[in-house]
């Protein structure tokens, strides 16, 4: 986050900008896929770690922002 922002927000922005017409729930799955692929070095931590999003949805329809 120190250098370019958090993995989640930066990946989300990148994925939504690339395909804003797609269903948001599918885009979030893609964001999660990309975040899960990253190896991260957190503060006070020398070993590589993993992160995974958690997505809760009670949407009743497809949600396409464009």
């Amino acid at each position: 986050r120190d250098e370019k922002g958090s993995d989640f927000i930066q990946t989300l922005v990148e994925v939504l900008r690339a395909d804003p017409k797609a269903d948001l729930l599918e885009l979030m799955t893609e964001v999660n896929r990309q975040v899960c692929e990253l190896d991260v070095l957190g503060p006070d931590c020398d070993e590589r770690r993993k992160a995974c999003l958690e997505i809760h949805s009670s949407l009743r329809r497809r949600l396409c922002l464009q």
């Binding site: 930066q10 992160a51 329809r61």
Partner: protein, 206 residues
């Protein structure tokens, strides 16, 4: 009798009607979170590109988190034309069990903030998107590496480590942590919500 309000249009292609106004609220604690400004700028720019009227507040106290949510709800309810979608991004330090820390170090419960919009009349039946960029505990996930695979799969191809919480689909028939009595007839407070957390419960968000 339709106790849950209008049914969505049938068919897999049914979409939310987003022809009305869209509003976004970005609340970000940047103090003690180096680089958080990059997220604020990127998300603010995206929201504007997607047609959201965007309100940004940086370094809110715990109390201000709640006040800003209440103000946002009031603005939406007072909006002249129809509102079709709301997006709220909460970016701060956080802890387990839905704790969010304001710039003053005081805590607020995420659930309380989310519920503020659940009672927004202008958003009834409209999608409400919540993005949470915050830690949810101190656990650092080392992932499940090739050692967790059968020997023949390791021999064939060693895939990269996967987060231990990945690839889980959890379907609930009731809303977790809420009253089992269900919503008031004529409304559906917990429907039409998309919440995305940057980390699994108990884990660090990077």
């Amino acid at each position: 009798v339709e106790p849950w309000g209008p049914e969505p249009e049938p068919g897999p292609s049914a979409q939310y009607d987003l022809s009305g106004a869209r509003a976004a609220l970005l609340l970000a604690v940047t103090q003690g979170r180096p680089g958080a400004q990059h997220d604020v700028e990127a998300l603010g720019s995206l929201c504007q590109a997607l047609g959201f009227e965007t309100t940004l507040r940086t370094d809110p106290t715990a109390q201000a988190f709640q006040e800003e949510m209440a103000q946002f709800r009031k603005q939406l309810d007072a909006h002249r034309g129809p509102v079709s979608c709301a997006l709220v991004a909460l970016m701060a330090h956080g802890g387990p069990q839905g704790k969010l820390l304001g710039a003053d170090g005081q805590e607020r419960q995420l659930e309380v903030l989310v519920q503020e919009l659940s009672h927004c009349g202008a958003l009834r039946g409209c999608p409400k998107i919540f993005l949470f960029q915050a830690c949810r505990g101190g656990h650092r996930d080392a992932g499940m590496g090739p050692a967790a695979l059968p020997w023949f799969r390791r021999w064939l191809r060693a895939p990269p480590a996967t987060p231990s919480q990945a690839d889980v689909l959890h379907v609930c028939t009731d809303v977790q942590g809420r009253s089992s009595r269900g919503p008031t007839p004529g409304s559906l407070n917990q429907a039409d919500v998309l919440m995305v957390y940057a980390a699994a419960e108990g884990c660090v968000a990077y």
